[in-house]
Symmetry: C2
Subunit: 438 residues, 2 copies
């Protein structure tokens, strides 16, 4: 009998994993419910409970439990070759009042893979670790990827001094309070050396609508987009009477800002026409509430710009164009465009050979997938940047992430489990070329 | 000896008026100072004090004092023909923490004209009344032109029920508290019938920068722009992850709003090329602070649109185009543009023959003037709409209005006095054609 996605066979070898996945999500949601949604504070109660739940479930198949200095948890099913470890997992913290699946789906799939192997008495090619990472969400310590960076000895030591947004205690203090070793984290200490890691595979719900739009349950992620951000752009003109100020004497900051927004989307058109990966977003556009008015030409507009691409070169070219366009708008409008401080992140291309293994695995189990970039950042970027073959598998999600409405059809979870089960059995996984660390 | 503007002759016939003007502004500022700026609440202490000051100054030349039912004050210098009255004046209320000159300059010039005539024992052609109007600023009773509309029996009776923004008492209650007669105002009672009014001349500081830019002290106002306003436009799209949402799947309300702003300025280009009088202003542009974020495609933008013109036909054509452009933007962006409720006012063309009289007067006294529209509304619009020949004389002002920095060079005041003195002596003023009332 075929299941709804065409690959679900009751009583097959993945039955234990499917059952575990459902139990994990149900229990996890109860443990961390803060209606609306769930809250799993990094190094806080929700994350600790989630780590314990994962460990308890892993006990049923007698996985080994280890922690690194930062408190990342490794639940290890011994493999045929015990000298190297294949990591499957993600983070277990969430944003405040977020959804149950962001991060957790990666851990659930690691455990489900292990449960299925254990139930059928199969040993993986290498040690297979479900890795539960800490503190991925930047809302808690202002830094992203605290767990994965610590795991790889790549955490900026200054991050240890950052106070958690809700507690007033620093990251280092929170690590120590749970019995971990911030000093060792500061020194870059690692549980696993990069060369001991076969690969890092991070299943995750998609945070955009591409899979829903394409009508497929799973996506193979080509890379994690990097970004440049101007979060505090100010367009400055001059306040003036709306009815009494002739056009030639206006310095309309609202018009200048609107032209800047439109011009940057025309720039996006050009990049898209050249098939260069890019996104351009103005998330905030605001005249000054203290000074604006319906009968005043606005004198000041705040803008927030987020530009992302999988290509470092594209980001560099786009940033140069943004600066040129700002100058052009200044010349055309007599306003000033202050781009302000730039922040951002480097793109992280994911392992192409690992994508091939996963594509073949999908075909093997009869699944259609698409390739797509990840627009959001993920711990996989840290592993990729450290020169470890890294992959992500996106699972269809109707409602975006970081909100209580995150959704995952368990049939799509089952599809991901089948794909990953086939992928980790592929012997080519032993021979993945290692990209140079960034 | 020539004064700085080339027309000021010490000991000439206008000396008394120049002196009065300076005293009036100095005393008025002290009476109504609320640092920063001045506050003359309509039907409140500041306006009452200003009315008393004007009356006291008019006593020095034995002007007759009268009030209409709404409490507008007429300080009358008897003329050669006592059957008709020429009005010169403006309002004496101010916005909170406004400047000393908006409105007050019109009353000061009426009094200065009368003082000069009296000091030289000249009787004007007709009764010359300095009219002190009440409650012109819409900040107090939500309606503009309360005084002039009441004076002409044209106040919407509902306005009498509107509570003053600071007191919680209605306009009618405030009128009665000062001893005036709201019931008679409700019935449209008038002190002067329109046909008894020779003309209404309102000197006023310019509220825009056109005179400063042109380098001239005075401007002859061609008409008062009318408007249509959409104060609560909502552009609705869909919130989405900035990095994870492909372009084709976006409904970016920020981009749609920016395109709408730019498109309406292109529309303004077209009207300007056709020499049609128009202003287009988006005073407020705001993504939703409760929901926006730097990494989110914005799902909602609030806009505020103010379009003005001296021509009713231009306003009608522009409004039709705004609606068409909104539909086009909707089709192009997959967003919704809800224009919402429309408000506005009718344009008021000012008397061309009276502009000619004033232009000739300017030439007579050696002054250069320009013609310009009034972008802001003024009591003169009420008189024009009632079919009374109405004119405005703008006086140069560096700093806009409705703020503590309103400025007027007293040399420019003196120039206005000279121009008006010449104008009111022109016999053509007896024969002004009356436009049909609107």
């Amino acid at each position: 009998m075929m299941g709804p996605t065409g690959i679900i066979r009751p009583n097959d070898t993945l039955a234990a994993g499917r059952t575990l996945g459902r139990e994990f999500f149900n229990t996890l949601e109860k443990l961390s419910a803060t209606p609306p949604g769930v809250t799993r504070v990094a190094y806080g109660a929700g994350e600790v409970a989630a780590f314990k739940l994962a460990a308890e479930m892993a006990k049923t198949f007698r996985a080994e439990q280890r922690f690194d200095a930062a408190g990342n948890q490794y639940l290890i099913l011994p493999g045929q070759d015990r000298s190297r470890t294949l990591l499957v997992g993600s983070h277990l913290d969430s944003v405040p009042h977020g959804g149950n699946f962001d991060g957790a789906a990666g851990v659930a799939l690691g455990l489900a893979l292990q449960a299925s192997l254990a139930a059928t008495n199969k040993a993986p090619l290498f040690d297979l670790a479900t890795v539960c990472l800490r503190a991925e969400e930047s809302c808690w310590f202002a830094h992203s990827y605290v767990g994965s960076r610590s795991a790889l000895g790549r955490l900026d030591p200054e991050a240890l001094e950052v106070k958690r947004s809700d507690s007033g205690k620093s990251l280092g203090e929170h690590m120590a309070a749970l019995g971990f070793d911030p000093q060792r984290v500061r020194e870059g200490g690692r549980l696993l050396e990069p060369e001991e890691i076969v690969a890092y595979i991070e299943p995750h719900i998609e945070q955009g609508p591409a899979l829903v739009a394409a009508g497929v349950p799973l996506g193979l992620v080509t890379g994690i987009r990097g970004s440049f951000r101007f979060r505090h752009i100010e367009v400055l003109g001059e306040y003036a009477h709306s009815g009494a100020t002739p056009r030639a004497l206006r310095k309309d900051a609202g018009l200048a800002a609107a032209r800047f927004v439109v011009a940057l989307h025309e720039m996006w058109d050009d990049f898209a026409a050249a098939r260069e990966d890019l996104t351009v977003t103005f998330g905030e556009i605001e005249t000054d509430r203290e000074a604006h008015g319906f009968s005043k030409v606005p004198g000041k507009v705040h803008l927030c710009l987020d530009v992302r691409s999988q290509s470092k070169g594209t980001l560099e070219r786009a940033q140069k164009q943004v600066q040129e366009i700002a100058l052009r708008i200044e010349a055309e409008t007599q306003c000033t465009v202050l781009l302000g401080e730039r922040s951002g992140s480097a793109p992280a291309p994911l392992s192409e050979p690992l994508q091939e293994v996963m594509l073949d695995a999908a075909q093997h189990v009869g699944l259609t997938t698409i390739h797509l970039p990840s627009g959001a950042g993920h711990d996989a970027a840290t592993y990729a940047q450290a020169g470890i073959p890294a992959a992500m598998l996106f699972i269809r999600n109707e409602n975006g992430s970081h909100n209580p409405h995150e959704a995952m059809d368990m049939a799509d979870f089952d599809a991901a489990l089948a794909l990953l089960d086939a992928a980790i059995c592929d012997p080519r996984i032993a021979e993945l070329p290692r990209p140079p660390p960034l």
